[in-house]
């Protein structure tokens, strides 16, 4: 057992930390990035590529740096601290997870930043049932024809390629018959409608109508989907920890500065104890984010799933407590768009709903006891 980062991991942490501090240290710049055409800073995305961050999870043979779940955790936590808009999670963690295992020729373009992936999987009826897919994949010669309506595609409005789930057989919520394909966003039969999300990021509704792919567009089946989603949840746990740790620190700073009734409000014992409970929530979430990272590649899918679900429950609960208490302890100022606290609160609230809410994952853990 070893909680220390390796030398390389420490370098990674420093480098991503500096990058985020440089670009997001002045919080007002976030709104500027959000107003750019793709909803994030093209310049910063290029920096990500330049520093090799976009190659993190890919094998060295493919031009990546062969990072694992711990490296992803380090990067995601830093992105969470900065409330970063760039599609690292969508393209590298989520999208990358599908082509990484396939050793796909697209990898080089993902690493240099010119290709950006997005997972077009959720559908209107699916809620948190991961295998609830109605979109169809019909064989067509050596390729496939895809039809269906995909919803809530993270960063789907600027992606160059979609990872699409579709069904070649099996019942609506069955694993059997589920297939994953990669398709260019500008293919015939693919259309999208982009929009902003509550946390200032971007998403899209994606429609597939007779969209054709060749046979080598097939990436895998339900087991691949399950594995990538679990690593994605682990990564988002780390992002949430970064965001809530920053929010907790911001709140403690505010308690020290803000004066009422002739004293810093941080001198009031009630607020002290509630700040302590925020800290405890952050530390418990951090422990579980580490646990999720450790278990994200566990060879036993059931153990992996139970561990990731447990982490998600803890992280969600901590997110809600830290988010709500940060607002309450700040008072009115945290309700304003101008101040950073509310944006952390909103981002944490949105992460809570991604890939299953607290009750969903609690049921997973309970069933596995």
């Amino acid at each position: 057992m070893d909680f220390d980062l390796s030398g390389e991991q420490t370098l990674l942490q420093d480098s991503i930390g500096r990058l985020i501090a440089d670009h997001y240290g002045d919080f007002a710049r976030r709104a500027e990035y959000a107003r750019q055409p793709d909803g994030f800073s093209a310049e910063l995305w290029a920096k990500f590529a330049e520093l090799g961050l976009l190659g993190l999870p890919f094998a060295e043979a493919d031009g990546g740096s062969g990072g694992g779940a711990v490296e992803t955790m380090i990067v995601m936590e830093a992105l969470g601290r900065g409330l970063v808009l760039e599609p690292y999670f969508a393209s590298i963690v989520l999208g990358g997870g599908f082509i990484r295992t396939a050793g796909h020729p697209l990898i080089a373009r993902v690493i240099d930043g010119s290709a950006r992936l997005a997972l077009a999987h959720a559908e209107r009826q699916s809620r948190y049932h991961l295998h609830d897919v109605a979109a169809t994949a019909r064989p067509d010669g050596s390729g496939w024809v895809l039809d269906g309506e995909k919803s809530l595609v993270l960063h789907g409005d600027s992606a160059t390629h979609y990872i699409v789930s579709a069904r070649s057989g099996g019942g609506r919520r069955e694993a059997a018959g589920l297939m994953l394909f990669v398709i260019e966003a500008n293919s015939a039969g693919v259309s999208r409608r982009g929009y902003a999300t509550q946390d200032g990021l971007r998403a899209a509704e994606v429609s597939l109508q007779g969209a054709r792919v060749t046979g080598d567009a097939w990436l895998g089946s339900a087991a691949l989907l399950d594995a990538v989603i679990d690593t994605a949840i682990a990564a988002q746990c780390a992002e949430a920890v970064g965001a809530m740790a920053a929010l907790q620190a911001l709140t403690v700073d505010y308690l020290k500065q803000r004066r009422q009734f002739g004293a810093a409000i941080g001198s009031f014992q009630v607020l002290q104890h509630r700040a302590v409970d925020m800290l405890i929530a952050v530390e418990q979430a951090r422990s579980m984010a580490m646990y999720a990272a450790m278990m994200a590649n566990d060879p036993d899918p059931a153990a992996r799933r139970a561990a990731v679900a447990a982490a998600k429950v803890q992280v969600n609960r901590s997110s809600r407590l830290v988010g709500q208490e940060a607002i309450q302890l700040h008072g009115g100022i945290a309700m304003t768009m101008e101040y950073q606290a509310g944006h952390y609160f909103k981002r944490l609230a949105m992460i809570e709903t991604l890939f299953g809410d607290t009750e969903h994952h609690l049921a997973v853990v309970a069933a596995a006891l």
């Binding site: 809620r127 509704e205 009734f261 509310g342 949105m350 709903t353 991604l354």
Partner: protein, 402 residues
């Protein structure tokens, strides 16, 4: 002891409810229910309908348009209004400055302002909070210096709700800088069209523009607009803040939200059925329903006790209503957030006019877009009007004697 409503009270409730349902435009009530922002015109329309029926200011003295209702009737009226998603009469007039004027104002002020408040011919806003004074209201620094028959006001107010529409602001200002904190404060009525007033919006995290900063730069206010005595404004402010607590728990608002929770959960697909089928979900709803029923009875107990108290002194038990009431309003928005699930995420800015709304394309169910903003926005209810921490301080001191 009989905790049931009497036949007369039930008849009153039915009358009020029927009026709300038939007379207040459905489109306005739907906006309230959906958590969308109301336009100025929506609020004016609704209050004028109430006013025509004599119900805009029922808690006022009869001579100024009041109804002489019992506390239970007032409770029923307010709760039904909330429960039927009727916008309440603009509180800054009807609940706040109105009672101050008929209690402490002079005859000229009363005649000039009260009828216009009831009919919402003037739009009022509240100038209490300042950037440096949150829970510690008495630390305010906006000052008014007497200059002949005018006060000259300089300073800044904040969190001023709907000041962008306001004709008038009632403000606490410091008229004696040497007096102790609470003792040098006066209560002024200021025309918002006076030169030197600037209103700047504060955009809140839900994207709404409800609140504002109001700047005063050498604003000249006639001395006739001083309410009561100079340097006694803190007394009137305390009266205002403690006044009319019967709606503070907003039971009706939470009732309406919980009805909506059930309705939406019944139409939200989840696996082979709908979310409402999930016993765990229903238990979460039941927990809020139970606490709400308890709070409703607690509120009625306070209402009943209120009718026997010397007036003017708020019951410290109303702090209990504020704490639990705000927690339950928030809990209901969390249930709505849970129902929306992944469809809480899309951000759909509200169009400026209602026609544009019907042309907007939703992502997911058409009711989902305002859910997250409502959750965000409702965090304020445990902060404003005396934060829940302040309320607990009040109870500890006034009830427990700690």
């Amino acid at each position: 002891m009989d905790l049931r409503f009497t036949a007369e009270e039930i008849a009153f409730r039915d009358e009020v409810r029927a009026f709300f349902r038939s007379e207040i435009p459905q489109a306005i009530r739907d906006k309230v229910s959906a958590g969308r922002h109301l336009s100025k015109q929506d609020i004016v329309t609704s209050q004028r309908i109430l006013h025509a029926r004599g119900w805009a200011v029922p808690h006022w003295p009869v001579q100024w348009g009041g109804q002489n209702w019992t506390p239970v009737q007032r409770y029923i009226f307010n709760t039904e209004m909330q429960s039927e998603a009727v916008p309440p009469p603009l509180p800054f007039g009807a609940q706040m400055v109105g009672p101050v004027l008929y209690t402490f104002g002079n005859a000229a002020q009363q005649q000039r302002f009260l009828p216009r408040i009831a009919a919402i011919e003037d739009w009022w806003c509240q100038g209490f909070s300042e950037p440096g004074s949150g829970s510690d209201l008495a630390s305010l620094r906006t000052r008014a210096v007497r200059d002949g028959d005018r006060y000259v006001v300089d300073g800044q107010k904040t969190w001023t709700t709907l000041a962008q529409y306001a004709d008038w602001i009632f403000a606490l200002v410091r008229t004696d800088p040497l007096a102790k904190k609470q003792e040098g404060i006066s209560f002024l009525l200021i025309d918002m069209r006076s030169p030197g007033i600037t209103v700047c919006p504060i955009v809140t995290i839900d994207g709404g523009r409800e609140v504002n900063e109001v700047f005063f730069d050498s604003v000249r206010v006639p001395v006739e607009n001083l309410v009561g005595q100079e340097n006694k404004g803190w007394d009137y402010a305390k009266f205002l803040l403690g006044n009319e607590r019967s709606g503070i728990a907003r039971i009706g608002v939470t009732k309406e939200r919980l009805r909506r929770v059930k309705r939406l959960a019944l139409e939200t697909p989840d696996g082979d059925g709908v979310l409402w089928d999930d016993p765990a979900f229903r238990k979460q709803v039941a927990e809020v329903e139970i606490e709400l029923k308890a709070l409703e009875l607690t509120q009625l107990r306070v209402v009943a006790a209120d009718s026997k108290r010397a007036s003017g002194k708020p019951d410290p038990a109303s702090s209990i209503l504020k704490i639990k009431g705000s927690e339950l309003q928030q809990a209901a928005t969390e249930l709505l957030l849970r129902i929306a699930g992944p469809y809480a995420a899309p951000f759909m800015p509200e169009p400026e006019n209602d026609d544009a709304l019907s042309n907007a394309w939703p992502v997911g169910p058409d009711w989902a877009a305002p859910i997250a903003p409502q959750y965000f926005n409702t965090r304020k209810v445990s902060i404003y009007g005396g934060s829940n921490e302040i309320q607990r301080n009040i109870i500890a001191k006034a009830i427990l004697g700690l």
